[in-house]
């Protein structure tokens, strides 16, 4: 008897835990409300099945626990019942699968007006690149990456020149504007994940992966790496700030383009060379002096 009661309490506890849990998803801040809704739907159907199955089991425990000489049903098969159960299950599964597929279809079809954001991951950090005035990102290559070209942009690609470079773990996004995240990695697998946006995708070295979302809530969010990438995995964090269009444009205008970077490097190089030459001269003079 008490076995059934304990099992009942477990089921009751699970349901109550679900209803009153303080640990539940964070407030959604993107267009993927549909994912949350499908989860809720799955909870209703799946949770219903779980409770029903367990309650039936508990009922059996109460009703049919061992008694010497109890009359037991002998019925190896019941075609009708089995058929009903199969079809009911199939129906329930289809009801869950359909919204799942519909939303996936939205997930893989990126809206035309989405802003492309190149997210570059490495062990262990992020940096970002936005298209410039031409609205297009330049092509990249891992082997191009060096101090002067931290993003590995192909220098002869005309689209790359005006790309806006954000050499920071933090990026700003415009509210209510779809974003297509283009992920690439220079070393191992990573995953750019903001729990509030619900969406995620691995960054895979050697290819570029993508996903999209539309932030719809102004605020600051933490970026987590969601694919194991070595010992620094847990510390690989970044940030997103979703801003109003006005604030965003202000931020955008402060960012450096690839062109700027090249120019700066050239100046630096020029100055470096000059410095080096001077040093040489100084050095030589020093040597002469010593002699």
């Amino acid at each position: 008897m008490h076995v059934g009661i304990i099992f009942f309490l477990i089921i009751l506890g699970s349901v109550l835990f679900h209803i009153f849990t303080p640990w539940y998803w964070t407030d959604i801040a993107s267009n993927w409300q549909g994912m949350d809704d499908t989860i809720t739907l799955t909870f209703w159907i799946g949770g219903g099945v779980f409770v029903a199955v367990c309650l039936f089991m508990i009922y059996c425990l109460f009703k049919f626990s061992y008694k010497e000489g109890r009359k037991v049903e002998y019925k190896p098969e019941d075609k009708k019942l089995e058929k009903i159960l199969t079809w009911a299950t199939t129906l329930g599964i289809a009801a869950l699968l359909a919204p799942g597929l519909i939303i996936w279809n939205q997930y893989v079809n990126v809206p035309k007006n989405a802003l492309e954001v190149d997210v570059m991951a490495w062990q262990w950090g992020w940096q970002y690149r936005l298209p410039g005035e031409d609205g297009k990102l330049g092509t990249t290559k891992v082997t191009n990456i060096n101090d002067e070209n931290p993003f590995g942009i192909n220098v002869d690609d005309p689209f790359g020149r005006d790309d806006i470079l954000v050499q920071s773990d933090y990026i700003n996004l415009e509210n209510n504007k779809p974003v297509k995240i283009l992920l690439r990695s220079v070393d191992v697998l990573h995953n750019w994940y903001v729990p509030q946006f619900r969406s995620k995708m691995d960054a895979v070295p050697g290819i570029v992966t993508f996903y999209w979302f539309e932030p719809n809530k102004i605020g600051e969010y933490e970026v987590l790496c969601a694919e194991y990438c070595g010992v620094g995995h847990y510390a690989m964090r970044g940030g997103v700030e979703v801003q109003s269009t006005k604030d965003y444009n202000v931020w955008l205008s402060e960012q450096e383009t690839f062109q700027d970077l090249i120019a700066k490097n050239e100046t630096l190089e020029f100055e470096d060379n000059k410095l080096a030459k001077n040093n040489n001269i100084n050095l030589k003079q020093d040597i002469y002096k010593e002699e």
């Binding site: 297009k136 092509t139 990249t140 290559k141 192909n154 050697g206 290819i207 570029v208």
Partner: protein, 112 residues
Amino acid sequence: MEDSKKREQSGSTHKIGIYLWIWGLLFVLSFFSYLVDWYQFQGMLRWSLILFFMFLKAGLIMAFFMHLYWERYALVNVLLWPMTAIVCFICLMIAEGKYTLFSRLFYFFVGG
């Protein structure tokens, strides 16, 4: 045990002619698939010829040299049905390979 041995033998031998035939056919088919390369056929023609000769040869070896043709359906089906998993794997990997190549060419070479 003597009986069972006899039983096995009675069903196991075939005329030598059939083996020689298959043997000859295998040489001919191999020669044909070699000619595909010799004449440098390209494109779909090459592919279909390669696959055609390949499956024909594989089928002959399995059916006659490995005696599958004479085996009972229970064994044949047990051996061949799992290949659907492989076929599924191949089809999906073809799609995957194309997708990877596209991604590489598009983002690392072509752009725009």
